[in-house]
């Protein structure tokens, strides 16, 4: 069974979706139970992926499956994970039950809401596991549909605008990647096989001229940069985040954005090393601008959710900076930070969702002194804010430190500016905490708000455990990330 685990993880959510479909929409209790059970099952299925993963060969693809799909066109069903994609798959599968559990309060069309998350999981796992360019592209686009409906149906007041903007923006970016994929396909002849869309084979045999490389890289980079999002292509993100329902925001920040950074690491960097070198100043510059810009904009936000959304722009800037350091430690830090951001920012969106549910507002000015009545909530919010700002001992510190360390070796100047983002990050997040949790409990509407329920505690508990675990003991993750990163960088050097 183990060698089929990746297709299983990819398509089990589809089967789960069909099962949920059979349950009548009125039986909400049964729906919730079944959805939670199925999501836990998906997570349980992914555990062997971690335990059976061979750390010694973490730089190579494992659990590989390859089957014919469209042999005449050179498209095959090729899946496998190395140390990088392994962790991203696990990030996806562990967020699923958390989101399902956090979505129990949804009243509008609960059944459809739950089903869409399973559909999204199929797409996301598929993106991280695919080793065929067309297969990858299919999953990449598949993710858009459930997210579009999540924002459009369950979103806030400007949901339609946000949903359409999200869909068109990300779609417009990724279609050019498809043309670039086709150009790669028709310009590569694999000896003895002919034309193919197979990623490892193309990486080995595709040797474009420098000029072509630049254009192809641009096509890939735009697609991924929009997803990340990199400054100045980030404008869809605040809209999508603010309007999306809590679960949608969590998955958006937690996993969807990582598809962009993952794309850079897996495709754009190894395929086009000389283009990356040529454009490095621009790329690093944009990453740094993103860090500082995102942080500055976060400071002035009045809406908590918007603040967290812009903080993502800043944090993902750090990830990009780490990737473009092209040093093992910096890139490994970036991969670790992808996971960290998925956990911490996902949790922050959940935390914002908790008080939005109670007060139906997210304006910072409407709150103050919540800590008195909601001590558990205060703890959770402070905890994840600290993890986000990179408090030593928690997960964010390790990633950020490694990124800055790696980046400083190759880009000392920009790194110095970027480091200011760490300080600014502390400013906007802690300031928000101060205004929301502490001070006098002035607004009478905030009195008597119930603290976290047992269900909500259960939502946060696994995330708290993971944040501490990674903060204290990042080595098991780094053991898996490092060899894969080295293999990727090696691939870049050899081309």
């Amino acid at each position: 069974m183990l060698h089929q685990i990746l297709p299983l993880l990819t398509f089990f959510p589809l089967a789960a979706l069909l099962l949920l479909w059979l349950i009548p929409a009125r039986q909400t209790g049964l729906l919730k139970g079944a959805a939670l059970l199925l999501s836990l099952l998906e997570f349980a299925l992914s555990i062997p992926l971690f335990t059976s993963f061979d750390v010694a060969t973490a730089g190579q693809y494992q659990f590989v499956v390859q089957a014919d799909w469209l042999p005449r066109l050179g498209i095959s069903f090729h899946m496998g994970v190395d140390g990088i994609s392994l962790l991203l798959v696990l990030l996806t599968t562990q967020l699923l039950p958390i989101i399902i559990l956090a979505s129990f309060h949804v009243e509008k069309a609960l059944k459809g809401y739950l089903m869409l998350f399973f559909l999204m999981t199929t797409g996301m796992v598929g993106v991280f596991a695919s080793l065929d360019l067309i297969l990858f592209y299919v999953f990449w686009e598949l993710v858009l549909i459930p997210m579009y409906f999540l924002i459009g149906i369950w979103g806030g007041t400007r949901r339609i605008y946000a949903a359409v903007k999200f869909f068109l923006y990300t779609m417009a970016g990724s279609v050019l990647m498809l043309v670039a994929i086709l150009v790669i396909h028709w310009n590569t002849l694999v000896p003895g096989l002919g034309r193919t869309f197979d990623l490892p084979l193309l990486l080995e045999h595709f040797h474009p001229a420098a000029g072509t490389q630049l254009w192809l890289f641009a096509a890939f980079a735009v697609a991924f940069a929009i997803k990340v999002p990199m400054f100045p292509l980030h404008t869809w993100l605040p809209d999508a985040h603010v309007e999306a329902p809590t679960g949608g925001s969590v998955i958006l920040a937690g996993v969807l954005l990582k598809m962009g950074t993952y794309g850079f690491l897996r495709f754009a960097l190894p395929f086009f090393p000389s283009a990356v070198q040529a454009l490095l100043p621009l790329l690093v510059g944009l990453a740094v601008v993103g860090i500082v810009f995102g942080a500055l904009v976060s400071i002035v936000q009045k809406d908590m959710k918007k603040l967290v959304a812009y903080s993502s722009v800043s944090h993902l800037g750090f990830v990009m900076l780490g990737l473009f350091s092209l040093q093992t430690i910096g890139v490994s830090g970036a991969v670790l930070q992808m996971i960290n951001h998925g956990l911490s920012t996902g949790a922050l969106f959940l935390a914002v969702g908790v008080i939005y549910e109670r007060r139906h507002t997210r304006l910072i000015a409407d709150f103050g002194g919540l800590a008195a009545g909601m001590p558990l909530y205060a703890f959770v919010l402070v905890f994840f804010v600290l993890s986000s700002v990179g408090l030593p001992g928690l997960n964010g510190f390790v990633g950020e430190f490694m990124i800055l360390l790696g980046s400083f070796q190759s880009q000392p100047g920009p790194t110095a500016i970027a480091a200011s983002g760490v300080v600014l990050g502390a400013v906007y997040l802690l300031w928000m905490v101060q205004r929301v949790l502490f001070g006098p409990l002035a607004n009478p509407k905030n009195q008597g708000l119930p603290d976290l329920s047992r269900r909500e505690l259960l939502v946060f508990a696994p995330l708290i455990v993971l944040v501490i675990w990674i903060g204290v003991q990042p080595q098991p993750l780094l053991d898996r990330i490092n060899p894969a990163v080295e293999a990727t960088l090696e691939l870049m050097r050899n081309r």
Binding site: P71, R72, L73, E141, G152, F167, L168, V179, L182
Partner: protein
Amino acid sequence: MDLSTLNPASLLPELILAGGGLLVLLANALGGRRADGWLSPLSALAVLAALAFCLFPVTREPGYFGSVQSDPLAYAGRTTVLAALLLLLLGGASYLRQRTLPRAETLALTLFGATGMLALASAGDLITLFLAIEVLSLSLYALAGLLGQRTESRHAALTYFLTGSFASAFLLFGLTLLYGAAGTLNLAELGLGIARHGGGAQWIALGGIVLSLTGFLFKVGAVPFHSWLPDVYTGSPSWVTAFMSTGAKAAAFAGFGRLLLPLAPQSTAWASLLGICAALTMIVGNFSALGQVNVKRMLAFSSVAHAGYLLLGLQATGYAGESLEAVLFYLLPYGLLNVPLFLIAARVSRAGGGRYHIDDYKGLAKRDPVLAGLLAVLLLGLAGIPPLAGFMGKLLVFSAAVRAGQTGLAVLGILTSVVAVYYYLRLVVFAYFHEPAPARTERLECDRGLTLAAGLAALGVLVLGVWPGLWLELTRGIGL
């Protein structure tokens, strides 16, 4: 002459359809109103029989001394037309019942038109090609005017007839020149014939190609010969529009694919011309559809845009014949998607006052969840979102273009397809993200036939998208 050398079995699907059409007329004449209920099933039976003989052909040899082909190209073209027609009969049954369309005439003319389409897909010589086009065109002219009591329908029929005859004249002149240049009517020998005659024949042939392509571009509604299309598509009864936009288009692309293939080595000038038209068609079609509030008109412009993508594939056959396979693949999901979409447009519009206004879609997800869900799938399919077959069609066509070295055209095509996503999604936005208008919150009565047809189409498009090999293997060898 021995009848068996004619191999009449090669013409079996066409004969069955024509026979079915005659039977429908006969049943109506003899049975009067009593036979009304039997007309649709009778037609469906004829189409099913034709489809059976098309999928499992009795013969794979050409017939009538090469005038009728039974090759993969004929196979693909015929199957596509028949699949679309079957969906039309299934999904449009209630449309026919409720409209004031004369049922027997509509069905008979539809079957006659389909006969022409099938013949066009399998035409092996210039005369058969032209005859087939005329058979399908004349049927469609009459069909477009069937709602003669309405001005738009009369207007549509007249516009269609005038531009259509104009196009036929161009086409005929072009075919004549080709015949003169090649000295043969046989499509497969055109290229060799022109080459044998050398110098001057090349130029005459080029003139012939340009003129016949002009006729062809008129017929499929490609820019700059598209201006008749929106009015005709909007004014004709939806049944007819659904048929025109799918069957006629599939047949035309199959027929002209066969005409152009042997000419590829002679000259790629026509390919460049087609490339320009493809670019214009994709731009004009998509951007014109963008602002429409009349859903039928939007779908009309969308089918202009799709003609552009098909032309993109067709021009690539000038560089590699196999590219025609991409065009033929594209046509099947396109047909499966478009037929139910036009019928759904008619259904929703009937519930909202017959204006085909986009406001009628507000809250459709609440008023008829099943139909709204299918509508969303069909629209996403037309938009080319994976894993639906619309994506595979686009992938193959763009891949063909890149292979032919037309990366610029592929980029243009894919960017305009993002524009298309906007207007397709707009319907989804209205159906799902808007609440129903206060006056129209009651549930729509379920139209079983239409729901079934749309469901089959959605399933077909999903299956074709996930396993495109099923269809690609069946039609293997097109353009070789």
